[in-house]
């Protein structure tokens, strides 16, 4: 037991917290919450709070399993939108079995396990996501979503909803200890981007879960609706979550090496090679919904082909150019990830793919200079640019045979994800869409 827990108990008392929400995440990345009273908190720390663990299995819950949620005191935060008096706070939880073993089905533990693996190799894994989302008017069933404005990339909308919105959201995020690097209006109408300042992957995954909640709360307060759906508008750009990644060895950025091509160390090149090699098989994790593939294959800079480049906006893996002398900020950006991914699992597979590249000493293929979208299919084939899966169904099929993903997620989570994704595809396939009705009904 430790100071952190003591601090939490004290804070709860001093700040007159009436409820503590214990947060955890199911395999799909959906936030789950159990509220407890302060009196139960000490018990939660020592014993954990019992619940039906099948709640983490996503939509295809099958087997009941007693599990314990143990709050992680380092994640204690007061929820600002619940007001100052009689406040509500939250902590993320680790899920364990009744005898204290980490639950095999808990995404957060999956990431922890993989970070441990990295740390055995001497690495700390940092990420920095650029999260895109849409601000829409309150959705009505059967009506296509309507963005709150008609602005574009970096447009400054005078007194626009989005402007206010971002100010409010950023204030709230900062008050919860989540630093924002950057925010601007994105290319689509009503689309916004907020970049979080880099942090270790576990903190960042927690932050992303919080971020989604905060954004949704602020939107509600302002009478609009926020969505992280990867492709809400057929003719607007999708919402990605480009993620910058770096490995540190102690204080040193292991990706940086002065005087090399792009200032990239051997480690960085192998890490990238790993990302490229395993990109198709991790797709069902990085782009987990039926809808994800509509973004991935919807053009507008979405990375559909496996290649890398520096400053190439069509590449899957990109090397952002940094200012000279800022070697510590050397990083690689993975551009397929979308805003609806389960960040714990997504970071796990990305890290794992990269580390595999390092362990196997993979060779980085040549970089791509061209906009791969402009090339003909034959050209792409000739140049060896593989395509990412074109649908969830294809992605699941590829993942099913992936030793890397199975090992990274553990057999249990691997199985749950597959089960969920197969069910999702099946349900989707059963739909008759407005498109079909429009196209076929009149003529057939």
């Amino acid at each position: 037991m430790n100071k952190q827990q003591e601090y939490v108990l004290r804070s709860v008392e001093e700040r007159d917290i009436r409820f503590i929400r214990l947060w955890f995440t199911d395999v799909l990345g959906i936030l789950k919450s159990v509220a407890i009273a302060p009196a139960e908190l000490e018990n939660a720390f020592t014993e954990g709070i019992g619940f039906d663990g099948s709640a983490v299995e996503g939509l295809t819950r099958v087997y009941e399993a007693d599990m314990l949620a143990k709050p992680d005191p380092t994640t204690f935060q007061i929820l600002p939108w619940r007001g100052a008096e009689h406040g509500v706070a939250r902590m993320f939880c680790d899920i364990s079995t009744p005898d204290g073993e980490p639950a095999l089905s808990d995404s957060r533990q999956v990431l922890k396990r993989n970070l441990d693996r990295a740390s055995e190799l001497g690495f700390t894994f940092y990420t920095h996501p650029e999260i895109e989302f849409y601000l829409l008017e309150k959705p009505e069933p059967g009506v296509p979503p309507k963005p709150v404005d008609r602005a574009g990339y970096f447009d400054n909308v005078p007194r626009g909803t989005a402007h206010n919105f971002r100010r409010e959201a950023i204030t709230m995020l900062e008050s919860m200890g989540i630093s924002v690097e950057f925010s601007h209006h994105e290319a689509g109408p009503g689309q916004n981007e907020i970049d979080l300042r880099y942090a270790d992957a576990l903190t960042m995954a927690d932050n992303i879960m919080t971020f989604r909640t905060v954004i949704k709360e602020v939107a509600l307060q302002q009478g609009v609706f926020a969505s992280f759906m990867p492709k809400p508008l057929a003719d607007g750009p999708g919402s990605g979550m480009h993620t910058h990644m770096s490995l540190f060895e102690g204080d040193r950025n292991a990706f940086y090496e002065a005087g090399t091509d792009h200032q990239l160390s051997q480690v960085a090149r192998q890490f990238m090679a790993g990302l490229l090699k395993y990109a198709p098989e991790i797709s069902a994790i990085t782009n987990q919904y039926v809808n994800s593939y509509k973004r991935l294959w919807g053009g507008a800079e979405a990375p559909s082909y496996v290649c890398w480049g520096s400053n190439n906006r069509s590449a899957l893996v990109r090397i952002p150019i940094h200012k000279p002398g800022k070697g510590q900020s050397t990083r690689v950006e993975y551009r397929a990830l979308d805003s609806a991914a389960n960040p714990y699992l997504a970071f796990s597979v990305l890290l794992s793919a990269g580390l595999k590249g390092i362990e196997d000493g993979l060779e980085l293929p040549e970089g791509a200079e061209d906009d791969v979208w402009e090339l003909s299919a034959a050209e792409r084939k000739a140049m060896g640019y593989q395509a990412l899966p074109t649908s969830l169904s294809q992605a699941v099929e590829v993942m099913e045979r992936s030793e890397l993903v199975a090992e990274t997620l553990g057999e249990r989570v691997f199985d749950f994800v597959l089960r969920n994704k197969r069910a999702e595809w099946k349900a989707y396939r059963a739909q008759v869409t407005p498109y079909e009705l429009e196209q076929y009904l009149p003529v057939l």
Binding site: N2, K3, G410, F414
Partner: protein
């Protein structure tokens, strides 16, 4: 050269000098400088542990004394007891010799120490405080010798005092009795050094008066049993001075604590003393360095782990503010003993116990005095464990030092007098060695030296004439310490009987229950009842049990279920109450006793088997007896039974008993890891073969007699099918068979059916011995077909009617009992069916469809298919169907495939290139793991279904134990998931032919 000179060299060598010529020259040079001739230099030198080095050091000291004007002090020591102290010190400690070379002014000390006065009366605190110019009588001593100069003065004064302790320690005839005084003096000296360090720190901290800092000694320092050189474990506690701001005072206290530590352990012109280690503080390295008493208490009340309380056992204020120190100890003291009631105590007690009993080999464990088997750590753990277990009810045990605690345990009757005395002696001797080793270079070492020279020095320094003798004693001590742990921990659990001598330990019920609970018995009350029942009375039996039980209790506690194991042991022992051999075996064979404990506390199946045939316990002492009997030997034994008697009931009872006995043997060997699960399955099958062959003989005779024949006019054979045919039976499997007959008689068919019925009755009818269920559903036409078929009818059936699945079923058909000729004829006939030249596409399709249907229909409801070892994805059935498909397709051409055994066929298919090596390995791994798990489940005997992997990781951990693998439960579950996933992928590709490449 005169003869006198030669003899001097020889005498020097006898005195232990290695380079006599050099020694002679050193002695001459020393005499030159001092102008003093020793009366008998060779004799004097013989007291030195390392005479060569000692003489060299003496010469260097003489030179230094000459140069600094202290020669008189050195001369005064010649041929005196004080000089003897200097000599042994130089011979045993290079480091302290070096100290004197730098500080010849302290030579005068040797004469100044009053004869007959122990170092123990020295006020170390006063001496060291005065050395830094602080007033020892002041409430808050502040140094007047400040900064680096103060640190230097402190360290010199420390070594000066250390020199006195060491000189007397080394000079003593018997170092062991002196050991507690030495350890205490060293701890006091360490406390004094920190006190002086604090005084120096205060001098450099203008605001020092704001805080009242206490330094608490932990570990060996707290226990006043410190080494010459070891980390000094401390905890800092501070309260603000009256009226001082709390935060400010705390910051000052942290600065003071750091500075006081650095005064002792920072590198400097005068070398550092030892590391000050404050990591035992709340939250360890991450915690704040200094806390107030209330905060310490709050931490321990709320958060501390069990081992942290263990550390508190030895807490003692050693320097700084006395009131705060006393308040700290007063606040913490009671908590140590409440801690024992906390959750997790049993686990950490068990960890300690295992640590002592199993012994994780430490690095260089054969040379470790501290961490090796039977080393110091073992003594300390054994004693601390007993203290923790009993100290909560008995305050008299709450002593800080190891030897005091041991004495208290003895006085309280928790440890027998002879054991305590032996432990005490061993501990002292180990510590003396440790001290001597450390003194040599004032280095923190616990390793017996490897070099012969160094060992010789150690032997001489610790009063052993030869290295060999020292090694022998060391060896004995290590063995004793290990053995004593068992004696001291388990023996006293046994209830006191009248005949015990007063020397033996005696625990009351509550204390015995405490010990049992501490090692993992869930119901110590019941356990104690069993132990009492076993050892009560003055009979020979009870007295042997008293010998046995201490070790048995330990072994049982290692098993999955100690409570059940002990109960079973009691029942078994009561059953065999009058069998002389039983207790004799267990007493004389440690192996047998340990195996019995493992079986009883692990496997319900074997326990039941042993309880129903207790005489089988005899096997446990003999590996040959635990080897499964060969089929030939079983056949001979069965034959003898059948020849002895004509009585059908008697014969079948004997045969069924024979099978039960062999099953018990196989199961025991399986649990003990002497055979693997595949061998076990083959042996289980062999017992069924024996029994069925015997039953067929009896049945034939019975039917012949009933029907009025001399010999039956037909012959009947039994064909093993399914897992039975494949020699892959598990302990509780039914036997799948079909009956075939041949012979010319109008009643042939009816007679054959009668034989089959009689055989079933013989094997299944209630009987004192367990049945073997016979299942004939795999026969042609299944349940609708006749129970026995003639060879001709079989032939016609298979040629004309059978579905491909029936050919598949025949792959595992193994004619196993009856007339040789008919067996051969049947085999030839089915070979044509089951190894067809070609498998028609329609048959392939039918097989695939059938299997797919089975997957969705046969699985029991509510079971996670992934955990189903037989029918789940990647389970036994996937592997077997894949292999059988390859057999149907290729056995016609590949001879190796003509086997009923899955693994043999799998390997043959690989050799023939029909399967890739990786595919074959995936299938093989899955098949073996599933077989292992099913075997373990059956042996465990707890689960409702022997085919479903339990979801509870703890239960799976027990299975891993039975399988003799090191996986944790979660690891085994993960491995099972991975293995079956791979096997399933192969099945989908090879059996189903699903194209999975994109």
């Amino acid at each position: 050269m005169s003869s006198r000179e030669v003899s001097f060299a020889t005498r020097l060598r006898r005195a232990g000098v290695s380079d006599a010529a050099r020694a002679e020259s050193l002695i001459a040079q020393i005499s030159d400088i001092t102008g003093v001739q020793l009366e008998d230099p060779a004799h004097t030198v013989s007291y030195l542990a390392d005479p060569d080095t000692g003489l060299l050091q003496l010469l260097r000291i003489a030179e230094a004394a000459r140069d600094s004007g202290h020669l008189d002090a050195l001369r005064a020591l010649a041929d005196t007891a004080a000089g003897g102290r200097l000599g042994v010190l130089l011979g045993a400690s290079v480091a302290l010799g070096d100290f004197l070379v730098l500080h010849p002014e302290f030579l005068a000390d040797f004469s100044a120490w009053p004869e007959g006065e122990s170092f123990a009366i020295v006020d170390q605190r006063r001496a060291l405080l005065e050395a830094v110019g602080a007033d020892p009588d002041a409430d808050i001593p502040v140094a007047t010798v400040e900064g680096d100069e103060g640190v230097r003065a402190l360290r010199v004064a420390y070594r000066r005092q250390l020199m006195r302790v060491a000189a007397e320690d080394l000079y003593a005839d018997q170092p062991a009795p002196l050991f507690p005084a030495v350890g205490a003096a060293l701890a006091d000296l360490a406390g004094a050094a920190l006190e002086a360090g604090l005084a120096v720190a205060r001098a450099g901290e203008p605001q020092h008066a704001l805080t009242r800092l206490a330094i608490i000694g932990m570990g060996k320092c707290g226990g006043r049993e410190l080494n010459y050189v070891s980390d000094v474990d401390v905890i800092f506690a501070a309260e603000p001075a009256e009226g001082a701001d709390e935060d400010k005072a705390l910051r000052v206290a942290i600065r003071l604590a750091n500075a006081a530590s650095r005064a002792c352990d920072r590198a400097g012109a005068e070398p550092a003393l030892w590391q000050v280690d404050a990591n035992l503080r709340p939250e360890g390295k991450d915690g704040v360095l200094v806390r107030n008493v209330a905060s310490h208490r709050a931490y321990y009340e709320r958060w501390a782990e069990t081992w942290e309380f263990q550390a508190l056992l030895k807490a003692r204020p050693i320097a700084g503010d006395r009131e705060v120190g006393a308040a700290y100890v007063e606040a913490m003291g009671p908590m140590v003993w409440k801690a024992v009631e906390r959750e997790g105590f049993v686990e950490s007690a068990q960890a300690m116990r295992r640590r002592v009993e199993e012994h994780v080999p430490a690095h260089e464990s054969d040379r470790q005095i501290k961490l090796g088997p039977g080393g110091l750590r073992d003594v300390e753990f054994t004693i601390q464990l007993l203290q923790l277990v009993h100290g909560r009810h008995d305050p008299s045990l709450r002593a800080r030092s190891t030897l005091d605690a041991l004495a208290a345990l003895r006085r309280g009757g928790y440890v027998g007098r002879p054991d305590a005395a032996k432990m005490d002696r061993s501990y002292r001797q180990l510590r003396v060695w440790e001290h001597r080793l450390q003194l040599r270079r004032l280095s923190r070492t616990h390793l017996m030296p490897a070099a012969e020279d160094d060992r010789r020095v150690l032997a001489r320094a610790s009063g052993f004439a030869t290295v060999e003798y020292m090694d022998e004693v060391w060896h004995d001590i290590r063995r004793d310490v290990r053995a004593m742990h068992l004696e001291m921990f388990y023996r006293p659990i046994l209830p006191v009987v009248a005949s015990l001598s007063a020397d033996e330990a005696r625990l009351d019920d509550a204390a015995a229950r405490d010990r049992l609970a501490a090692i993992g018995f869930d119901d110590p009350q019941a356990a104690l009842r069993h132990i009492t029942a076993l050892t009560e009375g003055v009979s020979r039996r009870a007295s042997i049990q008293r010998q046995l039980l201490p070790a048995m209790i330990g072994w049982l506690a290692d098993g999955a279920d100690p409570d059940a194991g002990l109960l079973a042991f009691r029942r078994l022992s009561e059953q065999l109450e009058n069998s002389q051999w039983y207790l004799k075996l267990l007493r004389d064979s440690r192996t047998a006793a340990e195996r019995l404990a493992r079986l009883l506390s692990t496997s319900v199946y074997v326990t039941d088997a042993l309880l129903s045939s207790a005489e089988n316990v005899t096997w446990l002492g003999d590996n040959a007896q635990l080897e499964p009997r060969s089929p030939e030997r079983l056949a001979r034994e069965a034959d003898a039974i059948l020849k002895r008697s004509d009585d059908a009931d008697q014969c079948i009872t004997a045969l069924r008993g024979l099978r039960r006995r062999e099953l018990a043997r196989v199961a025991a060997a399986d649990v003990l890891g002497l055979i693997d699960s595949v061998q076990a399955a083959a042996s289980v099958t062999a017992t069924a073969d024996m029994l069925i062959a015997g039953a067929l003989r009896i049945a034939t005779a019975v039917v012949a007699r009933d029907e009025g024949f001399d010999t039956l006019p037909i012959s009947v054979i039994v064909v093993a099918m399914g897992r039975y045919g494949g020699s892959e039976m598990s302990y509780s499997s039914d036997a799948d068979v079909q009956f075939v007959f041949d012979g010319e008689h109008e009643q042939a068919s009816a007679l054959a059916v009668k034989v089959a019925r009689e055989l079933q009755r013989l094997l299944q009818a209630p009987n004192p011995q367990p049945p073997l269920e016979i299942d004939a559903d795999l026969r042609p036409e299944g349940r609708n077909g006749p129970l026995a078929r003639s060879l001709a009818s079989c032939t016609a059936y298979y040629e004309r009617w059978s579905d491909p699945w029936e050919a598949q079923a025949l792959l595992r058909a193994r004619p196993c009992a009856g007339d040789e000729e008919l067996l051969a004829a049947f085999t030839t006939m089915i070979d044509a069916v089951r190894y067809p030249p070609e498998l028609p596409p329609s048959a392939l399709k039918q097989m695939r469809t059938l299997k797919a249907r089975m997957e969705s229909e046969r699985l029991p409801r509510g079971v996670d298919p992934r955990r189903h070892l037989k029918l789940g994805p990647g389970g036994l059935s996937d592997v077997e169907w894949t292999v059988q498909l390859l057999q149907l397709q290729h056995a016609h051409d590949v001879d190796g495939l003509r086997t009923t055994r899955t693994r043999e066929a799998l390997h043959a298919a690989t050799r023939a290139g029909l399967l890739s090596r990786t595919d074959a390995a995936d299938l093989d791994d899955a098949w073996v793991l599933a077989t292992d798990l099913r075997g373990a489940l059956a042996l465990r005997g707890r689960e409702r279904s022997p085919d479903v992997l339990p979801g509870d990781a703890r239960e799976v951990r027990i299975l891993a134990g039975i399988m003799n693998v090191d996986d944790t439960g979660a690891e085994l579950i993960e491995r099972h998931g991975r293995t079956t996933r791979h096997a399933r992928a192969v099945t989908e590709r090879v059996f189903y032919g699903w194209d999975t490449t994109t």
